[in-house]
């Protein structure tokens, strides 16, 4: 079911390329002479989950900030939905507002309290509705931030390393939660991450950014629920690590990537 979902999405994106919520054409962003984003073209289909990998300084965060409307671009065309939300590495909650007030901050709706309760229940925080951010754990605060983003029903959800500061166990739970919420709300997602495993576990498509350009992209057709023990996972991981310039023992496997991908598809269908 999950696999067909993904397939459906990809076919859909081919058909409705014009309706892609995110469209970037020849986007350039430069600081002085250095082009941080260099003639970048990128489409994200409705409901597609895209992960953005890249070494530090490859322009990932700059790109995300441009999409979030926090930074301007210097040239090129950029189209993003206005209904967008961002979750950053730090939860960025207003410390002086309780969890539920943070969730509906800036929303002009008739019954904010009820909406906030629903959103917090979705992320499993019904019991912390009135808590101040200072009393929340890192994972709880990040879930409030997620609820705050999703309550706006965004067409595009931007995630800037949102799980990087969490402990390993919390991160696993957050991965499951984010997939659940993504399925339910169906926003297009752009996840910026350093973590290759995370990218493979979550995304439909992984884009590797290098010096402001797309170095390569890999479509992940592994069926969900994904796990690192899944057949084919390691092959994708090795390939991505190779693209990121990490010499793993099996770096030469990258050359056989197409074969590996064939295998993957087969396994995905068997499931």
């Amino acid at each position: 079911m999950a696999a067909t979902d993904v397939l459906h999405t990809t076919q859909n994106s081919a058909l409705t390329a014009l309706a892609a919520p995110v469209q970037l054409r020849n986007v350039v962003r430069q600081f002085g002479q250095q082009k941080v984003i260099d003639e970048l073209n990128l489409d994200i289909a409705p409901g597609e989950f895209v992960a953005l990998l890249g070494a530090s300084g490859s322009g990932k965060t700059t790109l995300l900030r441009a999409l979030a409307g926090l930074d301007a671009i210097d040239s090129g065309q950029l189209r993003v939905p206005l209904a967008r939300a961002a979750v950053f590495q730090e939860p960025r909650l207003m410390p002086w507002k309780s969890a539920w007030k943070n969730v509906v901050l800036g929303l002009n709706i008739s019954n904010p309290h009820a909406r906030a309760l629903d959103a917090l229940a979705e992320v499993g925080l019904s019991h912390r509705v009135n808590a101040y951010p200072a009393t929340l754990s890192g994972g709880e605060a990040q879930r409030v931030a997620l609820a705050r983003g999703l309550v706006r029903e965004p067409k595009l959800l931007l995630l800037d390393e949102p799980f990087a500061a969490l402990d390993a166990l919390t991160r696993i739970r957050m991965h499951q939660l984010i997939i659940e919420l993504w399925r339910k709300h169906t926003p297009a997602v752009l996840l910026v991450t350093h973590d290759v495993d995370e990218a493979i576990l979550l995304a439909d498509r992984v884009i590797v950014l290098e010096q402001g350009k797309i170095a390569d992209e890999v479509r992940i057709d592994l069926p969900r629920q994904r796990s690192t023990a899944q057949t084919g996972f390691q092959a994708i991981r090795t390939r991505l690590l190779g693209l990121l310039g990490v010499d793993s023992a099996a770096a030469h496997d990258t050359a056989e990537a197409p074969v590996v991908q064939d295998n993957l598809r087969r396994f995905a269908n068997v499931r």
Binding site: G69, A134, R152
Partner: protein, 286 residues
């Protein structure tokens, strides 16, 4: 209940060995009576007071140096009963609060103007920064020439002293709001009015309270000073009058009043903070 630590000459030297028997709660069932904390705390001040009284009674401390506690107590009671103390206290309190509230208002308005707008900063900030370096008590001669020696000068001096701490702290509080929170507010689509109301003002409130505390301290200091120049009422007048008659008991009473008022106002601010800053980690975790 013994802790056994093997000495270094034992064969196991190089280890710290702790071997404690399990704890037995001997107090289970009955609670031993213990004097409350504040009673224990009162013991040493009371002892000091007793020594002071003894020294006065034996003539070791002549009353022109300092009056005996018993005499001070008697005078205090007499002053309260005759209503003398109440009248003077009211006059002082009125001065301090009037000056303080005007000063704080000016400071807040100025900080908002220069903190929230670039133009306001250009126009207001540098004169404020220049003026703040003048100690307000140094303005006394000028103020007396301008406004005479009446009530206006006294309140004006308290105003000038209390404006700047509030201005400086609130201004820096506004300017030092975490830019990440401002960014978050922008991605949430807050407009400027909402940004000021939901993010900037609550975020700078702690700094405002710091300024308010400073201002309170200064208002008290200024009060003591201005009430000694030319007054016919107020705690400061009481003190300088007592000086002329060598009434050390009255002087001590005035000092006492000043310190009690300081404590009371501090307690009020503390309560306000507890309420207004309930979200701060120190308060929120309790």
């Amino acid at each position: 209940m013994s802790e056994k630590t093997l000495d270094s000459r034992s064969p196991e030297s190089g280890f710290l060995i702790v071997d404690k028997p399990p704890r037995v709660d001997t107090n289970a069932g009955r609670k031993r009576w213990k004097a409350p904390d504040f009673v224990v705390r009162l013991l040493s001040p009371l002892a000091l007071l007793l020594l002071w009284e003894l020294a006065s009674q034996t003539g070791l401390l002549p009353s022109r140096v300092i009056a005996a506690p018993s005499q001070i107590g008697g005078t205090l009671w007499a002053m309260i009963e005759s209503g003398e103390l109440g009248t003077h206290l009211w006059v002082s309190l009125h001065r301090a609060l009037l000056g303080l509230s005007i000063g704080v208002c000016i400071g807040v308005v100025a900080a908002l103007v220069s903190g929230l707008s670039k133009k306001g900063e250009v126009i207001l900030d540098s004169p404020m920064q220049m003026l703040r370096t003048i100690p307000s008590l140094a303005l006394v001669p000028l103020f007396i020439l301008w406004f005479g020696i009446g009530e206006f000068t006294k309140v004006a001096l308290i105003v000038t002293g209390t404006t700047f701490p509030v201005y400086l702290n609130l201004y820096s509080g506004i300017r030092n709001i975490d830019p990440k929170l401002i960014e978050a507010a922008n991605t949430l689509g807050l407009n400027r009015r909402q940004l000021i109301w939901h993010v900037i003002l609550p975020g700078s409130l702690p700094s405002f309270f710091v300024g308010l505390r400073y201002s309170l301290g200064i208002s008290w200091l200024a009060l003591v000073f201005v009430e000694q120049i030319n007054t016919t009422a107020g705690i400061g007048y009481l003190a300088s009058d007592a000086r002329d008659f060598m009434r050390t008991d009255v002087i001590v009473i005035c000092l006492l009043i000043y310190s009690i008022l300081g404590l009371v106002i501090d307690a009020i601010i503390r309560t306000l903070e507890r309420y207004a800053l309930a979200w701060r980690p120190t308060f929120a975790r309790n």
